[in-house]
């Protein structure tokens, strides 16, 4: 328990929908609807889901870039959501973010040194006389050439900009870095460079990552534990190997089977989900996934399943497993036969 660096309990974020002349609230978009997870120190927690599932909102509320509607989040035992402005500013360096778009996340009017060093000076991370040296060290660590220090963002390519973003986050000596789709805007060969950099830095500096992405293979590669989100809630959470080998929730299974494999000999018989994501303003009753679920049962339309632990830290919210003990055994078998890796062999 104590080695958890971040603990999120029942995080809720609703955006009001306003309408009419007087902008009265007519409903809520349930962007995040009760999400709980924790991250162990030095590990990477991957958060996957499709666009609109609320994964980015989780990241932003944790940084208090948007104010949460409810729930609690503890960073090293301190409650982030109950802090006032000055307390929040004091812990900011511990919690950093890397954004998706390396083009809009750097102020075009600042040279690289200033971009990286601005917050370092503001928070007095290092004494004044060591400042210059410190910035250069950080740049070295992120694979940026030292002479870049006076250059402006417009001279860099996407990959290098993302390195600058990483350097900027790293310079504050954070414990936890929230990486919101850090590689999805980059080319494949550059993605690998950035992923490797993130991993090297983690090993060197004992960093913890919350890695938010829609790319399942990247998440599998980088994460120790993975949470799958659907319409604002976690539907499954498990150690990476366990989740990818034995996915329990039908949504996870569908997601995994939807990923194209770069091998022309593998023709998977995939479970293709019907239909589209329902609107988060008006989520379906009962289990939110029941409208698209291939294994939908009567109970799914009535009652939302609880998020339960099924051993080995494998949590899921699905009625397929929650009914009775003997049922469970069947369904685990079932999940194994549906396993994409086995299908691959066929």
């Amino acid at each position: 328990m104590t080695d958890n660096i971040l603990e999120v309990q029942n995080l809720v974020k609703h955006y009001p929908i306003k309408a009419g002349v007087f902008q009265h609230v007519v409903g809520h978009v349930r962007a995040v609807d009760g999400v709980s997870f924790s991250i162990r120190k030095g590990q990477t927690f991957g958060l996957v889901g499709e666009s609109g599932c609320g994964k980015t909102t989780v990241g932003r509320t944790l940084l208090r870039l948007t104010e949460p509607t409810g729930g609690q989040a503890f960073l090293d035992g301190q409650d982030i959501f109950s802090m006032n402005r000055s307390q929040l500013r004091a812990i900011r360096p511990k919690l950093q973010m890397i954004f998706q778009d390396p083009y809009s996340s750097l102020n075009p009017r600042m040279p690289v040194g200033e971009l990286i060093g601005e917050a370092v000076r503001q928070h007095h991370i290092v004494p004044k006389d060591q400042y210059q040296n410190y910035i250069l060290q950080i740049m070295d660590a992120c694979g940026l050439r030292r002479y870049y220090i006076d250059r402006y963002p417009h001279e860099f390519s996407g990959g290098q900009r993302q390195r600058i973003c990483i350097a900027r986050a790293l310079a504050l000596g954070p414990d936890l870095i929230i990486a919101d789709e850090p590689v999805s805007a980059l080319d494949v060969s550059i993605q690998a460079q950035i992923i490797n950099l993130l991993q090297d830095l983690q090993a060197e500096r004992k960093l913890t990552y919350l890695f938010i992405s829609h790319d399942l293979s990247v998440v599998e590669y980088i994460s120790d534990e993975v949470g799958v989100m659907y319409l604002g809630s976690l539907v499954e959470k498990a150690p990476t190997a366990d989740l990818y080998q034995h996915p329990m929730h039908p949504y996870t299974r569908a997601l995994l089977s939807a990923v194209p494999i770069p091998d022309p000999d593998i023709r998977m018989n995939r479970t293709v989900l019907e239909g589209d994501l329902p609107s988060p303003a008006n989520p379906p009753k009962g289990c939110k996934f029941h409208t698209r679920c291939p294994n939908c049962m009567e109970i799914c339309k009535e009652k939302a399943p609880d998020f339960l632990d099924y051993g080995n830290g494998h949590w899921t919210a699905c009625h397929l497993y929650s009914q009775a003990g003997e049922n469970r055994a069947d369904t685990t078998d079932h999940s194994e036969t549906d396993d994409p890796s086995e299908n691959n062999l066929s």
Partner: protein, 387 residues
């Protein structure tokens, strides 16, 4: 020292002036050519192989910018056989989209122009083969949309928000089949929408694009492309903007359709997974040139070019345990003033002495598998014969 910098500054200015003069000349020529009447005999050619639908032969598409000439596509040659899917793979800026725009003759002139080479199209409807690069625009209009259709990347922006789905679908049908009655056109639209798996076709006919989800819109775009029974469909990153589960739906749809409609597909993407699922042949492009091409099996099981190998290794694969991810070092060279040697030299692990020489020739590994790399050039008999 200061004199030196002044000197370089001057020469730079001189160069910019030269570029400007050169561009002005090129632009003038472009406008003149545009006005010229082109006789039919000018663009009739012979296909190299009658089984091919489209043949790119040393295609060059240049952009004449103020900073210099960008050779976006520089000598690209590959074939699209009838009824097959060809995947064109490469990173951003490698010229894959420009290649497809050249087929449609949609390059933004006068900056973007086809500078050389041929795109031979087997126009079976007229029992002839034509060179699309030389075709006059009015003849091109008849091919565009009817015989060659395009699916764009962004389903959000490729539909006009002020017209209903029905309007937009029937537009190209009306254009290419002017004799059809209103009812027939509508029936055709609904048939097309059913074909792409839209259940409530009648209902959606009168909807506006914003009322549909991304996946639905992409289906509509595909239906539009299919509505005139095209011989070739160019799909430019058709699933990149979509979520994984929707992407799976669309890919399944495209694969299904391929068998039904007997058209060729030119699939442009950066995602090797998508290509592996869809394509029969794969073309790998790097910095405006084709570096390797072959059947999907050859490319994925026996990649030869270091770039292809790197590309395949740098993506983590589901349920496959790799140690450290392989990453290709460095970045793509500056598109202006490309070097004379192999463009990949600076990033290549297997770089040799001779890589600093001229650009490597095309080497046939098998009759279908071609690669441009010095690694496979036979020092004695090979390299010239390989051409």
């Amino acid at each position: 020292m200061s004199e030196n910098t002044a000197n370089t500054k001057n020469t730079k200015k001189e160069r910019l002036k030269q570029i400007k003069r050169f561009n002005a000349k090129v632009y003038r020529q472009y406008t003149k050519d545009k006005k010229r009447k082109i006789p039919v005999s000018d663009y009739i050619t012979e296909m190299r192989d009658a089984d091919n639908l489209l043949e790119f032969d040393n295609l060059q598409a240049y952009f004449y910018t103020d900073a210099g000439t960008v050779k976006a596509v520089d000598g690209v040659s590959f074939d699209i056989p009838k009824g097959k899917t060809v995947g064109v793979v490469g990173e951003s800026g490698c010229g894959k989209s420009v290649t497809s725009l050249s087929v449609m003759r949609l390059l933004q002139g006068p900056q973007g122009q086809i500078a050389g080479g041929q795109i031979r199209y087997n126009q079976e409807s007229m029992q002839r083969a034509v060179d699309l690069t030389k075709m006059p625009m009015d003849a091109m209009q008849k091919i565009r949309g009817k015989e060659i259709a395009m699916i764009f990347q962004e389903p959000m922006t490729s539909l006009n928000p002020v017209f209903t789905i029905g309007d937009q679908l029937s537009e190209s049908i009306k254009l290419h089949f002017p004799k059809m009655s209103k009812q027939e056109v509508k029936a055709r639209c609904i048939e097309m929408m059913k074909l792409v798996g839209i259940a409530r076709a009648e209902g959606i006919f009168d909807n506006y694009p914003h009322e549909l989800s991304g996946g639905m819109r992409q289906r509509i775009v595909i239906a539009m492309a299919l509505s005139c029974d095209p011989r070739l469909i160019i799909a430019d990153e058709p699933t990149t903007a979509l979520d994984v589960t929707i992407q799976a739906q669309i890919l399944d749809l495209l694969r299904e359709l391929k068998d039904k409609i007997n058209a060729s597909i030119m699939l442009i993407t950066h995602d090797l997974g998508v290509v592996a699922e869809m394509a029969d042949y794969v073309v790998i492009m790097y910095a405006g040139k084709v570096v390797e091409q072959g059947t999907a099996k050859e490319i994925f099981h026996d990649p030869r070019h270091p770039y292809t190998i790197g590309l395949l290794k740098s993506r983590p694969v589901l349920n496959e345990d790799v140690g450290r991810l392989y990453s290709i070092p460095g970045t793509v060279p500056n598109p202006i003033e490309m070097p004379s040697y192999c463009y990949f030299k600076n990033r290549c692990e297997k770089c040799m002495e001779c890589c600093s020489g001229e650009y490597p020739a095309t080497i046939d590994v098998t009759p279908t598998h071609k690669v441009n790399c010095w690694l496979y050039a036979q020092p004695s008999a090979g390299s010239e014969a390989g051409r």
